[in-house]
């Protein structure tokens, strides 16, 4: 059984906000020189990471199934003369890199994940197996446009970040992973996001052999 406590949770739930609207809303959170080139997902993830006040010795786990969907669309459209800027910002895990490069904030351990219907499960499992004094788990998606019509981009934009430590004092949530039945269900990234956003408890098998208990304190 592995147990960690959450002390800080940040949520971005922009609804149908366009990338331009997100950029305008969050402009004060980023250096002006970086803002123009940042993706919507980079802005959202950067905003939720800002209050985490990363010092560099934390481990950061990042999860996104589709990454920079909009940028990917624009990069594909730039062929046969591909854009170097769109190429580098379309690559997983660009969102976190955009945010931390803008703030010149180095980091020792960084674990970017991707996946499908078990991405939330595997992100939690990865984060809880790290033996760091503090681990930050963040994730997010940006809503696609034409890729969405073909089922290969996220339907929603969102971002979240929370920290994990073994200190129970003043914690807002407790997360416990323990062995469970071999056959089980899944926990996708949007599903994890909704439980965090609405502070919903969760106690069930989230992957084969893995049981999750998320409890709000």
């Amino acid at each position: 059984m592995t147990e960690r406590f959450v002390h800080q949770l940040e949520i971005e739930d922009p609804g149908a906000e366009t990338p331009a609207e997100t950029r305008e809303r969050l402009r004060e959170h980023f250096p002006r020189g970086s803002l123009r080139r940042m993706t919507q997902l980079g802005l959202l993830v950067g905003r939720v990471l800002e209050p985490m006040k990363l010092q560099g010795d934390e481990a950061v786990v990042y999860a996104s199934a589709y990454g920079e969907s909009r940028t990917l669309e624009e990069y594909l459209a730039s062929f046969p003369t591909p854009s170097p800027t769109l190429f580098q910002t379309s690559i997983h895990p660009s969102a976190v890199q955009q945010a931390l490069i803008a703030r010149q904030r180095g980091l020792r351990q960084f674990y970017p994940l991707t996946g499908g219907r078990l991405l939330g499960s595997h992100a939690l499992q990865t984060a809880l197996q790290i033996q760091a004094s503090r681990t930050v788990l963040c994730g997010g998606e940006e809503r696609g446009s034409w890729l969405l019509g073909h089922g290969v981009a996220s339907e929603v934009s969102f971002a979240f970040a929370f920290d994990l430590s073994s200190d129970p004092a003043r914690a807002i949530a407790r997360i416990r992973l323990e062995p469970g039945p071999d056959a089980g269900s899944a926990l996708s990234l949007p599903e994890l996001f909704y439980h965090l956003r609405d502070r919903l408890a969760l106690r069930r098998v989230i992957a084969p052999g893995l049981n999750l208990a998320l409890e709000w304190l």
Partner: protein
Amino acid sequence: MSLSPENPPVAIDAADCRTGLGDAAATWRGLLADRCALTLLPVLGPDGGDAVPLALLAGRTMAETAPPNWLAHLDSLAAAIPSEPWGMPGFPVYVTSSNFGVGSLYAFHRSQDVSHLPHATPAAAVEVLRRRFGWGENVTIFSHACVSAHLGLIAAARALAHGTAERALVFSFDFISPFVAGGFHALKILNGGMPAPYADRPVGSIGLGDGAAFAVLRRGRGEFGLAAHSLHNEMQHFTANDPAGAGFAACLTPVLAAAAGRRVWIKGHGTGTLDSGRLEAEAFGRLQPKSPLVSWKGSLGHTLEAVRGGQTPGTTGSSGPCFGATVAIPAFANGAYDGVVLASNAFGGAHAACLLTHD
């Protein structure tokens, strides 16, 4: 972040790879013979463009097919994986890649042929592999460009240390497509020149290659082990490193400390770009002046072959002068060494290194 004392020793039970030179044994033999898998090919495949150095697996082209033409190569590699209930509890799989099936996404965009879409996202591409190879759902996916495979190895070692894994499989693959080749060409580091890792020359250049590999890990000691890992992410610039080389030193120092008492040689990243080549060679030369440094974009598979075979291939494609005195251009006998440091770099100033031991 050394695995010691956080994690107990990890043994490598099996490993193999596929490169433009063949499987692990053929790749090692080819490198020893100074063969280069790179040939000058149009950067956008069937859509043309400048000729750039690319190394495709035998019989593969950049003309995207549905299903992708790289699946057969992964079938061949997967057939060499020791049989276990992979993906089931106790036997996790860690898939790592930079590109997954992004070539299929590019092909869909060009052709609007929806038959490319089932392989077009990372999750979809891995799901195809999972079903194809009969793995269960315990498949975690990491993607962090050229340091991705290191993350899979670290996660596998952690799962073994936690006791949630009896054995763990790390499976890595990347296949070139116009999407990726076009991007690096746009960044102007993939050009008409052949890469010459660590060579001090007027213009730098990289090559891109197809590659796939696996490693099976278990707790305990064996002929080959993974004794330490280290990561560092500079986050200073997307495509450049700290000009003083601080990121290289920060990543290498913990692994070299774990290698104390061993004689190690070093397989560096050595892409062929000038700045990172100089910084990497200088950092290794400063921190480990008695350890020869080579680059052949190696994978674990043919590194093990090199150790078993007693001969380390030299830095294919390079000739003097080089950025550091420790850069080994010709092949050398490695019988007196009992460790290898494997180092990789990626976008965002990402660094990863691990210590491979041979006892």
